[in-house]
Symmetry: C2
Subunit: 149 residues, 2 copies
Amino acid sequence: MTSPLQLKQSLREWMDVFMHRSMRGWMTFAKTTGLSMPQFSILMQLHHRGPCGMSEISERFDITAAAASQLTEKLVQGGYIERAEDPSDRRAKSIQLTPKGKELVDVGMTERYRWMDELVSKLSTEDKPKVVEALKVLTEAARQLDETA
Amino acid sequence: MTSPLQLKQSLREWMDVFMHRSMRGWMTFAKTTGLSMPQFSILMQLHHRGPCGMSEISERFDITAAAASQLTEKLVQGGYIERAEDPSDRRAKSIQLTPKGKELVDVGMTERYRWMDELVSKLSTEDKPKVVEALKVLTEAARQLDETA
DNA sequence: CTTTTTAGTTAAGCGGGCTTAACTTTATGC
DNA sequence: GCATAAAGTTAAGCCCGCTTAACTAAAAAG
């Protein structure tokens, strides 16, 4: 029998360990790129959710349109994103990653994945399938939660 | 048979989902407190690793001693931490959370845990023990990695 | 006991993110 | 067509984090 407490407890412990590593790695990488965290976040967001307009950026990061405009301007200057005109609405801009931007995100992800690959190498052969299954279950549950919320 | 690729893949998917939720929740909370991310990070760090001196803060966050001093000063002003004199070395300061600081960290953790509790409620009865076991294995492996690194 | 090293503080100055406010341009409602 | 709303931009100004540089005070080294 698995008590609810036990499950919550193991999730929390895992999260503590995991968050620490992940956050630190993320910030460290952002620093090496010379980009600020907000700038880097915009790149990551474009990677995950695809091209979008100015207004979506200000919504998602809860900043004014002015702030979003200025932030993206710097990323355009840096050559990480491009601001194309939306043909259907000439007021709107379609913002998307350039190859250089994609490259940077990929490198960042790879660095963050490295720790996980090391983690995998620490697992015993009999543990691996169990872990795979559990993670799939968790990921599926998380996706469900995101959809309903 | 579990292929190494399958394991890496499921870990990465889980991480993507997990990181998004976690990071967003963390930043949102930091915003509501009125503290900046660096300030909030110091509080979290004090919570996890206990009291420390000024120099440790500048090391861990990779900032100059001057920056660390100024950051902590603001947290002292806000009543979140206190700066006591180290009796064994009167140059050094022992920095630790005040009750108010502890309270704030606790509230933040609770908020971040809420999502995980919802996650747990989405799991089927037969999945729960598997997840518990897998997470324990992963946490243990992560701790081992941290120690060797 | 003097010199040097170590821990931390303070002040000046830079760049970044953010906001408000004023503005341009394009779409929409009537 | 004209007024109004919507999407972005630009500029001024604020606060913040960070760095360098100059400083104080205490410990360690010689």
